[in-house]
Assembly symmetry: C2
DNA sequence: TTCATTTTTGTACTCATTACAATACTGATT
DNA sequence: AATCAGTATTGTAATGAGTACAAAAATGAA
Protein backbone atom coordinates (compact mmCIF):
# COMPACT_ATOMS: atom_id res chain seq x y z
CA UNK A 1 0.00 0.00 0.00
CA UNK A 2 1.16 3.48 -0.78
CA UNK A 3 -0.43 5.16 2.23
CA UNK A 4 1.43 2.70 4.41
CA UNK A 5 4.74 3.61 2.76
CA UNK A 6 3.95 7.31 3.10
CA UNK A 7 3.54 6.76 6.80
CA UNK A 8 6.74 4.77 7.04
CA UNK A 9 8.67 7.55 5.35
CA UNK A 10 7.13 10.23 7.55
CA UNK A 11 7.89 8.24 10.68
CA UNK A 12 11.50 8.08 9.53
CA UNK A 13 11.54 11.85 9.06
CA UNK A 14 11.78 11.57 5.28
CA UNK A 15 9.55 13.65 3.07
CA UNK A 16 7.51 11.23 0.98
CA UNK A 17 8.28 12.53 -2.49
CA UNK A 18 7.15 10.70 -5.59
CA UNK A 19 10.59 9.33 -6.37
CA UNK A 20 11.10 8.04 -2.84
CA UNK A 21 7.67 6.47 -2.68
CA UNK A 22 8.01 4.73 -6.02
CA UNK A 23 11.44 3.35 -5.19
CA UNK A 24 10.40 2.15 -1.76
CA UNK A 25 7.19 0.61 -3.10
CA UNK A 26 8.94 -1.12 -5.95
CA UNK A 27 11.65 -2.70 -3.84
CA UNK A 28 9.04 -3.80 -1.34
CA UNK A 29 6.85 -5.31 -4.05
CA UNK A 30 9.43 -7.71 -5.47
CA UNK A 31 11.58 -10.52 -4.14
CA UNK A 32 14.22 -10.08 -6.82
CA UNK A 33 16.61 -7.95 -4.76
CA UNK A 34 16.75 -5.40 -7.54
CA UNK A 35 19.83 -3.47 -8.60
CA UNK A 36 19.94 0.26 -9.28
CA UNK A 37 19.69 -0.58 -12.94
CA UNK A 38 16.63 -2.76 -12.47
CA UNK A 39 14.96 -0.02 -10.45
CA UNK A 40 15.81 2.51 -13.12
CA UNK A 41 14.43 0.37 -15.94
CA UNK A 42 11.27 -0.32 -13.96
CA UNK A 43 10.49 3.25 -12.98
CA UNK A 44 11.75 5.15 -16.00
CA UNK A 45 8.40 4.82 -17.76
CA UNK A 46 6.45 6.14 -14.77
CA UNK A 47 8.94 8.92 -13.99
CA UNK A 48 10.43 9.88 -17.35
CA UNK A 49 12.85 12.38 -15.84
CA UNK A 50 14.22 9.92 -13.31
CA UNK A 51 18.00 9.86 -13.02
CA UNK A 52 20.24 7.17 -11.69
CA UNK A 53 21.74 9.64 -9.27
CA UNK A 54 18.33 10.08 -7.68
CA UNK A 55 18.06 6.36 -7.23
CA UNK A 56 21.47 6.21 -5.58
CA UNK A 57 20.57 9.14 -3.33
CA UNK A 58 17.23 7.68 -2.40
CA UNK A 59 18.56 4.22 -1.67
CA UNK A 60 21.22 5.73 0.54
CA UNK A 61 18.51 7.59 2.41
CA UNK A 62 16.22 4.60 2.73
CA UNK A 63 18.92 2.21 3.85
CA UNK A 64 20.15 4.79 6.33
CA UNK A 65 16.62 4.95 7.74
CA UNK A 66 16.47 1.15 7.88
CA UNK A 67 13.51 0.97 5.55
CA UNK A 68 15.61 -1.01 3.09
CA UNK A 69 18.90 -2.79 3.26
CA UNK A 70 21.67 -3.16 0.71
CA UNK A 71 23.03 -6.56 -0.16
CA UNK A 72 26.46 -6.96 -1.69
CA UNK A 73 27.14 -10.55 -2.65
CA UNK A 74 30.48 -11.83 -3.79
CA UNK A 75 31.58 -8.80 -5.76
CA UNK A 76 28.35 -8.45 -7.68
CA UNK A 77 26.53 -5.19 -8.18
CA UNK A 78 24.76 -3.83 -5.13
CA UNK A 79 21.25 -5.10 -4.60
CA UNK A 80 18.44 -3.91 -2.40
CA UNK A 81 16.12 -5.76 -0.11
CA UNK A 82 13.00 -4.74 1.78
CA UNK A 83 13.05 -7.73 4.11
CA UNK A 84 14.41 -6.17 7.25
CA UNK A 85 14.53 -8.93 9.88
CA UNK A 86 17.90 -10.70 9.94
CA UNK A 87 18.14 -13.34 7.27
CA UNK A 88 20.62 -14.94 4.93
CA UNK A 89 20.83 -14.98 1.16
CA UNK A 90 21.15 -17.74 -1.39
CA UNK A 91 22.54 -16.99 -4.82
CA UNK A 92 22.08 -19.47 -7.62
CA UNK A 93 25.35 -19.93 -9.48
CA UNK A 94 23.49 -20.69 -12.71
CA UNK A 95 20.78 -18.08 -13.03
CA UNK A 96 22.13 -15.52 -10.57
CA UNK A 97 18.80 -15.19 -8.77
CA UNK A 98 18.95 -14.30 -5.11
CA UNK A 99 16.63 -15.80 -2.54
CA UNK A 100 16.07 -14.89 1.09
CA UNK A 101 16.95 -17.54 3.63
CA UNK A 102 15.25 -17.73 6.97
CA UNK A 103 17.88 -18.13 9.61
CA UNK A 104 17.46 -20.65 12.33
CA UNK A 105 18.28 -18.69 15.51
CA UNK A 106 20.70 -21.48 16.32
CA UNK A 107 22.79 -20.29 13.44
CA UNK A 108 23.61 -17.22 15.40
CA UNK A 109 25.52 -19.13 18.03
CA UNK A 110 28.98 -18.31 16.79
CA UNK A 111 31.50 -17.63 19.50
CA UNK A 112 33.81 -14.84 18.46
CA UNK A 113 37.35 -14.70 19.80
CA UNK A 114 37.60 -12.52 22.88
CA UNK A 115 37.73 -8.81 22.24
CA UNK A 116 35.67 -8.93 19.07
CA UNK A 117 32.28 -7.21 19.22
CA UNK A 118 29.67 -8.11 16.64
CA UNK A 119 27.39 -5.48 15.16
CA UNK A 120 26.02 -7.22 12.11
CA UNK A 121 26.38 -10.38 10.13
CA UNK A 122 25.95 -11.63 6.58
CA UNK A 123 25.42 -15.20 5.54
CA UNK A 124 25.62 -16.06 1.86
CA UNK A 125 24.99 -19.52 0.49
CA UNK A 126 25.93 -20.28 -3.10
CA UNK A 127 24.61 -23.16 -5.10
CA UNK A 128 21.80 -24.20 -7.37
CA UNK A 129 18.22 -23.09 -6.96
CA UNK A 130 15.31 -25.51 -7.38
CA UNK A 131 14.52 -24.26 -10.84
CA UNK A 132 18.06 -24.69 -12.18
CA UNK A 133 18.32 -28.07 -10.49
CA UNK A 134 15.25 -29.17 -12.40
CA UNK A 135 16.51 -27.92 -15.76
CA UNK A 136 19.93 -29.52 -15.40
CA UNK A 137 18.77 -32.99 -14.54
CA UNK A 138 20.87 -35.34 -16.56
CA UNK B 1 59.08 -22.17 2.14
CA UNK B 2 59.60 -21.54 -1.53
CA UNK B 3 60.37 -25.12 -2.46
CA UNK B 4 57.07 -26.08 -0.93
CA UNK B 5 55.21 -23.52 -3.01
CA UNK B 6 57.03 -24.64 -6.13
CA UNK B 7 55.75 -28.12 -5.47
CA UNK B 8 52.22 -26.88 -4.85
CA UNK B 9 52.21 -25.05 -8.14
CA UNK B 10 53.60 -28.03 -10.04
CA UNK B 11 51.02 -30.33 -8.49
CA UNK B 12 48.35 -27.94 -9.69
CA UNK B 13 49.80 -28.06 -13.20
CA UNK B 14 50.98 -24.46 -13.02
CA UNK B 15 54.46 -23.52 -14.13
CA UNK B 16 56.17 -21.98 -11.10
CA UNK B 17 57.30 -18.70 -12.59
CA UNK B 18 58.85 -15.97 -10.48
CA UNK B 19 55.73 -13.82 -10.51
CA UNK B 20 53.47 -16.69 -9.50
CA UNK B 21 55.80 -17.86 -6.76
CA UNK B 22 56.21 -14.41 -5.28
CA UNK B 23 52.49 -13.72 -5.30
CA UNK B 24 51.61 -17.08 -3.78
CA UNK B 25 54.33 -16.79 -1.15
CA UNK B 26 53.35 -13.27 -0.20
CA UNK B 27 49.67 -14.01 0.22
CA UNK B 28 50.54 -17.10 2.24
CA UNK B 29 52.92 -15.17 4.46
CA UNK B 30 50.46 -12.57 5.71
CA UNK B 31 47.13 -12.60 7.50
CA UNK B 32 46.07 -9.25 6.11
CA UNK B 33 43.97 -10.60 3.24
CA UNK B 34 45.84 -8.36 0.81
CA UNK B 35 44.27 -6.56 -2.14
CA UNK B 36 45.75 -6.44 -5.64
CA UNK B 37 47.11 -3.04 -4.76
CA UNK B 38 48.77 -4.26 -1.59
CA UNK B 39 50.36 -7.13 -3.50
CA UNK B 40 51.57 -4.74 -6.17
CA UNK B 41 53.10 -2.32 -3.67
CA UNK B 42 54.79 -5.17 -1.83
CA UNK B 43 56.32 -6.89 -4.83
CA UNK B 44 57.07 -3.93 -7.09
CA UNK B 45 60.51 -3.49 -5.52
CA UNK B 46 61.43 -7.12 -6.00
CA UNK B 47 59.98 -7.36 -9.51
CA UNK B 48 60.37 -3.87 -10.99
CA UNK B 49 58.57 -4.77 -14.21
CA UNK B 50 55.57 -6.22 -12.42
CA UNK B 51 52.22 -5.12 -13.77
CA UNK B 52 48.85 -5.12 -12.13
CA UNK B 53 47.48 -7.17 -14.98
CA UNK B 54 49.91 -9.95 -14.12
CA UNK B 55 48.67 -9.90 -10.57
CA UNK B 56 45.06 -10.16 -11.71
CA UNK B 57 45.97 -13.00 -14.09
CA UNK B 58 47.96 -14.85 -11.48
CA UNK B 59 45.34 -14.53 -8.78
CA UNK B 60 42.73 -15.84 -11.18
CA UNK B 61 44.97 -18.81 -11.89
CA UNK B 62 45.75 -19.49 -8.25
CA UNK B 63 42.18 -19.18 -7.05
CA UNK B 64 41.07 -21.42 -9.91
CA UNK B 65 43.59 -24.00 -8.72
CA UNK B 66 42.33 -23.63 -5.15
CA UNK B 67 45.71 -22.51 -3.88
CA UNK B 68 44.18 -19.20 -2.82
CA UNK B 69 40.68 -17.92 -2.41
CA UNK B 70 39.21 -14.54 -3.12
CA UNK B 71 37.20 -12.73 -0.51
CA UNK B 72 34.73 -10.04 -1.44
CA UNK B 73 33.25 -8.39 1.60
CA UNK B 74 30.39 -5.95 1.48
CA UNK B 75 31.29 -4.22 -1.75
CA UNK B 76 34.91 -3.62 -0.82
CA UNK B 77 37.81 -4.28 -3.12
CA UNK B 78 38.63 -7.93 -3.71
CA UNK B 79 40.95 -9.48 -1.18
CA UNK B 80 42.91 -12.71 -1.20
CA UNK B 81 43.33 -15.38 1.40
CA UNK B 82 45.62 -18.39 1.62
CA UNK B 83 43.64 -20.07 4.38
CA UNK B 84 41.80 -22.70 2.42
CA UNK B 85 39.72 -24.69 4.91
CA UNK B 86 36.21 -23.28 5.29
CA UNK B 87 36.11 -20.35 7.64
CA UNK B 88 34.35 -17.06 8.19
CA UNK B 89 35.61 -13.49 8.13
CA UNK B 90 35.35 -10.63 10.55
CA UNK B 91 35.74 -7.08 9.29
CA UNK B 92 36.35 -4.28 11.75
CA UNK B 93 34.12 -1.35 10.92
CA UNK B 94 36.69 1.08 12.33
CA UNK B 95 40.04 0.04 10.95
CA UNK B 96 38.84 -2.13 8.09
CA UNK B 97 41.10 -5.01 9.05
CA UNK B 98 39.88 -8.49 8.19
CA UNK B 99 40.33 -11.45 10.47
CA UNK B 100 39.73 -15.13 9.85
CA UNK B 101 37.07 -16.77 11.99
CA UNK B 102 37.17 -20.42 12.83
CA UNK B 103 33.77 -21.85 12.24
CA UNK B 104 32.20 -24.10 14.77
CA UNK B 105 30.93 -27.05 12.70
CA UNK B 106 27.58 -26.48 14.37
CA UNK B 107 27.35 -23.27 12.43
CA UNK B 108 26.98 -25.30 9.31
CA UNK B 109 23.65 -26.74 10.35
CA UNK B 110 21.49 -24.54 8.21
CA UNK B 111 18.56 -26.30 6.63
CA UNK B 112 17.96 -24.97 3.13
CA UNK B 113 14.47 -24.99 1.66
CA UNK B 114 13.86 -28.09 -0.43
CA UNK B 115 15.29 -28.01 -3.93
CA UNK B 116 18.24 -25.78 -3.04
CA UNK B 117 21.69 -27.35 -3.33
CA UNK B 118 24.57 -25.75 -1.50
CA UNK B 119 28.01 -25.57 -3.07
CA UNK B 120 29.73 -22.97 -0.98
CA UNK B 121 29.04 -20.53 1.80
CA UNK B 122 30.33 -17.21 3.11
CA UNK B 123 29.93 -15.89 6.60
CA UNK B 124 30.87 -12.29 7.30
CA UNK B 125 30.72 -10.72 10.73
CA UNK B 126 31.03 -6.96 11.05
CA UNK B 127 31.92 -5.16 14.21
CA UNK B 128 34.83 -3.90 16.24
CA UNK B 129 38.11 -5.71 16.57
CA UNK B 130 39.92 -5.99 19.94
CA UNK B 131 42.37 -3.25 19.07
CA UNK B 132 39.71 -0.70 18.12
CA UNK B 133 37.62 -1.68 21.13
CA UNK B 134 40.61 -0.83 23.33
CA UNK B 135 41.21 2.53 21.71
CA UNK B 136 37.61 3.63 21.87
CA UNK B 137 37.02 2.89 25.51
CA UNK B 138 35.09 5.80 26.89
C1' DT C 1 5.04 36.63 -5.13
C1' DT C 2 9.27 35.99 -2.86
C1' DC C 3 12.61 33.36 -1.00
C1' DA C 4 14.99 29.74 1.44
C1' DT C 5 15.16 24.89 1.67
C1' DT C 6 14.89 20.52 -0.18
C1' DT C 7 14.71 17.38 -3.97
C1' DT C 8 16.07 15.94 -8.33
C1' DT C 9 18.89 15.96 -12.22
C1' DG C 10 23.06 15.98 -15.37
C1' DT C 11 27.79 15.88 -16.02
C1' DA C 12 32.16 14.76 -14.81
C1' DC C 13 35.04 11.97 -12.27
C1' DT C 14 37.12 7.90 -9.76
C1' DC C 15 38.79 3.59 -9.61
C1' DA C 16 38.65 -1.58 -9.58
C1' DT C 17 38.50 -4.82 -12.93
C1' DT C 18 38.60 -6.74 -17.66
C1' DA C 19 39.87 -7.06 -22.67
C1' DC C 20 43.15 -7.46 -25.72
C1' DA C 21 47.14 -7.04 -28.37
C1' DA C 22 52.14 -6.59 -28.13
C1' DT C 23 56.31 -8.04 -26.12
C1' DA C 24 59.35 -11.03 -23.59
C1' DC C 25 60.54 -15.35 -21.96
C1' DT C 26 61.21 -20.48 -21.92
C1' DG C 27 62.61 -24.78 -23.24
C1' DA C 28 62.70 -28.24 -26.73
C1' DT C 29 64.62 -29.38 -31.25
C1' DT C 30 67.70 -29.18 -34.71
C1' DA D 1 73.95 -21.43 -31.01
C1' DA D 2 69.73 -20.43 -33.82
C1' DT D 3 64.94 -21.31 -34.56
C1' DC D 4 60.49 -21.59 -33.13
C1' DA D 5 56.12 -22.57 -30.84
C1' DG D 6 53.92 -22.04 -26.78
C1' DT D 7 53.50 -19.61 -22.56
C1' DA D 8 54.02 -15.70 -19.44
C1' DT D 9 54.06 -10.95 -18.74
C1' DT D 10 53.23 -6.34 -19.74
C1' DG D 11 50.92 -1.91 -21.24
C1' DT D 12 47.15 0.47 -22.88
C1' DA D 13 42.55 1.07 -23.50
C1' DA D 14 37.87 0.10 -22.33
C1' DT D 15 34.10 -0.95 -19.08
C1' DG D 16 30.97 0.07 -15.71
C1' DA D 17 29.41 0.77 -10.90
C1' DG D 18 29.44 4.15 -7.84
C1' DT D 19 30.40 9.08 -6.16
C1' DA D 20 31.05 14.26 -6.20
C1' DC D 21 29.24 18.25 -7.13
C1' DA D 22 26.91 22.03 -9.00
C1' DA D 23 22.78 23.46 -11.63
C1' DA D 24 17.88 23.24 -12.07
C1' DA D 25 13.36 22.24 -10.40
C1' DA D 26 10.00 21.73 -6.94
C1' DT D 27 8.12 22.77 -2.43
C1' DG D 28 6.08 25.36 1.03
C1' DA D 29 6.14 29.00 4.40
C1' DA D 30 5.88 34.06 5.01
Amino acid sequence: MNTENILLLKEAGIKPSLVRLKILSFVKSVTSHPTVDMIYKELASEIPTLSRTSIYNTLLLLTGARLLRSVSIDGDVMRFDATMPDHGHFRCSECGQIFDLNLDPQTHNIVLPSGFKEIRRDLFVYGKCPYCNKCDEN
